[in-house]
Amino acid sequence: MSLWQKLACVILALVLCGSVAANWLAPAGYAKQYREATDAPPSRAHWLGTDEMGRDRFARVLYGTRISLLLAPAAALLSTLMAALIGGLAGYLGGIWARMAMAVTDLFLSLPWLFLLITARALMPLNVSPLISVMVTFMLLGLLGWTTAARVLCTTAASLRGSDFVRQAQAAGLPAQRLFWVHVVPNLKPVLYAQFWISIPVFILSEANLGILGLGVAEPMPSWGSLLKELEGLVSIGEEPWKFVPLILLVVVVTSFQVLLSKQEEMAA
């Protein structure tokens, strides 16, 4: 592990710890309104000031980070499992199954990711409780984000199907199901891990895009996307630089993931 990767690990660990400890660091919570201090600048009471509804921005950043950082991996897990199921199985079975799976994958890949995501999310219910909006947003990311990983896994599984040890196992009369779960799946693990880690920053950024467009997590629950929506009403960067803290945090976290993933990407390629 290089020095940069170690630094990225430390940053991610610190941000994760901070977000997990949000209940202790900001006990008032993300929804409490300080009506006497709306849109206030940073102070001793509110380290990052308050938003236009008088909610403490520091608390909202901590809770928003927790939601984005915990649910992006959950969505990545869902998409990786779907990719393993569709791509891995299709590659292993080969023939018509592989062709069908790749046709579906090509169909999804022919639509730009942002177009597909925004369209699909806009078609989902928008007037729902904050908790359901969180679930819908991240479920959608997981359900739509499997295609690239499925393609990689299909190719890997197809190459495993033709390998000597699989042919020997087939010749020895090993049942197809056992062969897949015991011998093929363990060999797909490195690619699965790589695809899982690669998906996390992609989903964090996608959620942020949805949030800014008003299609992400519903108010009052914060996420990086909904926090960045505040930039829409920005008057001047010099006058209110603290409004950029969520963006800076997002860039730092995604950059840390990218630094950590440089090896994983090589493995997945």
Partner: protein, 290 residues
């Protein structure tokens, strides 16, 4: 020549099938979306029961996705793309009015992105200075980590054109590939030998590097069109540009089935055409080398 014809025929076939399936997928998504069958006009107290029933009957044929899609295809053959439910205008007129802005935005955005990409990637490969390489990689990495919608917002804030936002969204993706390709090409033994023998940089570039990297760069160029089309939605929606990206955004929010199906077909067509063209041109370049 024969293989090229087969390649083009294969691409055309795949393109038609994917475009048709893309439209069907979009129609199915809209049909299954909650609140699909609601119409605000039904709440108008001035409307009689017969008028409300007439509105419901008008939407009735859209209930069956396959029937809707089949009749849509039949009408599309004659040039009738239907009428937008939300905007009350013919889809054809809407697309015709908004297409020039989006096309201009995409063309300028992509040109800027590729200008920046090739300038920086070629400089990185030529100069082989670790400081320059680190700086450009860090710059592209930073843009890669900023959400597309934030770049759109910043372009509004700084009064920068939307095309610049598209360029900055596409650039980090293309730069990574182009830089790696060019660095790899320049580290080939025959190029190192050519340099050692004093061959001019321009000759090395046009005779030994460009032919090697062109097919792969063309493939990246095809993919970059898809990225730019995707980026056009947040850019147009947030910058208030009345293009097809903004129209797609409005259509999705209003669950406007005819409009959304047409835009999906159009987007799929554009991205597939870009990818297929890149593939066919790459094939021609490779065959000329042989």
């Amino acid at each position: 020549m024969r293989s090229l014809r087969w390649k083009i025929a294969g691409h055309v076939l795949a393109l038609v099938a994917t475009v048709l399936l893309g439209g069907l997928l979009s129609a199915t998504l809209v049909r299954l979306a909650p609140g699909f069958d609601t119409d605000e006009r039904e709440l108008d107290p001035h409307l009689s029961a017969e008028s409300v029933q007439a509105l419901r009957d008008a939407r009735h044929q859209d209930h069956n996705v396959f029937r809707f899609y089949f009749s849509y295809m039949k009408r599309a053959m004659t040039g009738d793309l239907g009428t937008s439910l939300a905007l009350g205008q013919p889809v054809r007129t809407l697309l015709r009015d908004r297409a020039p802005l989006t096309l201009r935005l995409l063309a300028i955005g992509l040109a800027l992105a590729w200008l920046l990409t090739l300038t920086l990637a070629l400089s990185a490969a030529w100069l082989r200075l670790s400081v320059f390489d680190t700086l450009t990689t860090a710059a592209s990495g930073t843009f890669l980590c900023i959400p597309a919608a934030v770049l759109a917002l910043l372009s509004v804030f700084w009064n920068a054109p939307g095309a610049l936002a598209i360029a900055l969204i596409v650039f980090p993706h293309t730069y990574r590939y182009a830089r790696n390709l060019l660095v790899k090409a320049y580290s080939r033994p025959h190029i190192i030998t050519a340099r050692a023998k004093g061959l001019g940089e321009a000759r090395i570039l046009f005779w030994h590097v460009v032919p090697v990297v062109t097919p792969q760069l063309l493939a990246v160029a095809g993919v970059s069109v898809s990225m730019a089309v995707g980026a056009a939605i947040p850019v147009e929606a947030l910058c208030g540009l009345a293009g097809i990206g903004q129209l797609a955004w409005q259509a999705a929010l209003a669950r406007d089935l005819p409009l959304l199906v047409n835009i999906t077909v159009l987007v799929t067509l554009v991205t597939l055409l870009a990818n297929s063209s890149a593939d066919v041109i790459g094939h021609v370049v490779r065959s000329q080398e042989v």
